[in-house]
Symmetry: C2
DNA sequence: CATCGCGTAGGACGACTGTCCTAATACTCC
DNA sequence: GGAGTATTAGGACAGTCGTCCTACGCGATG
């Protein structure tokens, strides 16, 4: 913190504020107050608010990439790596309950604003999707790897959204257990686990 | 449409705009343009923007309640009713892919704004949660009914968020099939279905 | 026809927003 | 110490926001 560049401080403060208050709702004045610099001076470091957003997303992408690299280093087993991802909602339960998922909420907001940086923010989802897909591929589920990656992503988004809405920590832990259980089944025998739908599946519907 | 009150027209237009563009991002000017009335004249019908939001949420609650009532009338089987809920993400796939879930995105936005109407909007989640809980109770899963209701809610939120981010209709259908499959298993034998975690479950984690 | 009141139009208001400009400061190297 | 660059402060700008006010149109009632 002490040795951080002014630019880095701005990005970090903006990151936090965008996460907690949303992008549009966060004004330059609020960021300036957080970094203790004057409002007009932003334009020495960034040429617009969108520019700050771009830097924030880039920083988040960097941080996530580093996180995934570390998981890969600490966990050789692909299944263990996937479990690490599943555990995120527990690890970050405090922030998630207060502010939701940083990736999901930002993407949703930028979509509603029709903001040009939406694609860049979508890269955060794509990053996790590709990483999970690779882990499932290594597990031997090559053909379904992408669908499984999406399923795990959907799990985390669903849990984050509801944990945020109801501020329910027990719910998070229950759902994580459920997902761990499903992963165990799926790793042992893909066909036995719920969701390994045969190719027809006309409709189990009413 | 033709016979609708000006007030009703305002609420309907605001509902659509809040959904598509977000609450904060939607200005009075935008609503006025949609309803073809003058901007300043809003305050004859509503005393503030928050007041419009309150009316929009109330209208959404009404509509959802009517929808659930209709499901109950058309579908006597609790399992069939739950499947109807699961099918929402398919039925509304176009809007969901374009704008996300109306309940989830509104709740998330109001939370970030620290808006007083957040609790009111949370009532939309609570409505579905209680309704699903009752269906699971009738299915005989009384003790787990609330947890199961939350699980189904999380499913819908996760699917909506990702379908929105990736605009992927096939993903929606896959996940819906997966959920139908899980429901079939769970209804037949709760212990066999993934997620029926025993009470200890120290850690399936690595 | 006159009166009343509901509904509307359109502009004015202060407060904010992101942006830009200019003057002053801090720091570095000769 | 002085010159030059890097960084900052603070105000001015035009635009938009939610809000409020006043005057006008219009239909019903007497």
């Amino acid at each position: 913190m002490g040795g951080a560049t002014t630019r880095e401080q701005i990005v970090e403060a903006a990151d936090q504020l965008f996460y907690r208050q949303g992008y549009e709702h966060t004004s330059f004045a609020a960021i300036a107050q957080a970094v203790h610099i004057s409002r007009g001076n932003f334009y020495y470091h960034f040429k617009s608010k969108d520019d700050i957003l771009g830097a924030v997303i880039a920083a988040r992408l960097d941080a996530r990439r580093r996180m995934l690299k570390q998981w890969e280093a600490e966990e050789a087993d692909p299944l263990g790596r996937i479990r690490r991802f599943v555990e995120i909602v527990v690890t970050n339960r405090a922030d998630i309950q207060s502010y939701g998922c940083p990736v999901g909420t930002l993407t949703t907001e930028l979509a509603k604003l029709e903001h040009p940086a939406l694609d860049q923010a979508g890269g955060l989802f794509t990053l996790f999707r590709a990483w999970l897909r690779e882990q499932f591929t290594r597990l031997g589920h090559e053909t379904q790897a992408d669908a499984l990656a999406m399923h795990v992503l959907a799990f985390s988004q669903g849990v984050a959204t509801l944990a945020h809405a109801f501020r329910d920590e027990d719910f998070i832990r229950r759902e994580v257990q459920r997902m761990h259980h499903w992963l165990s089944r799926y790793a042992a025998d893909p066909d036995s686990a719920t969701g390994a739908v045969p190719d027809d599946t006309a409709s189990a519907n009413a």
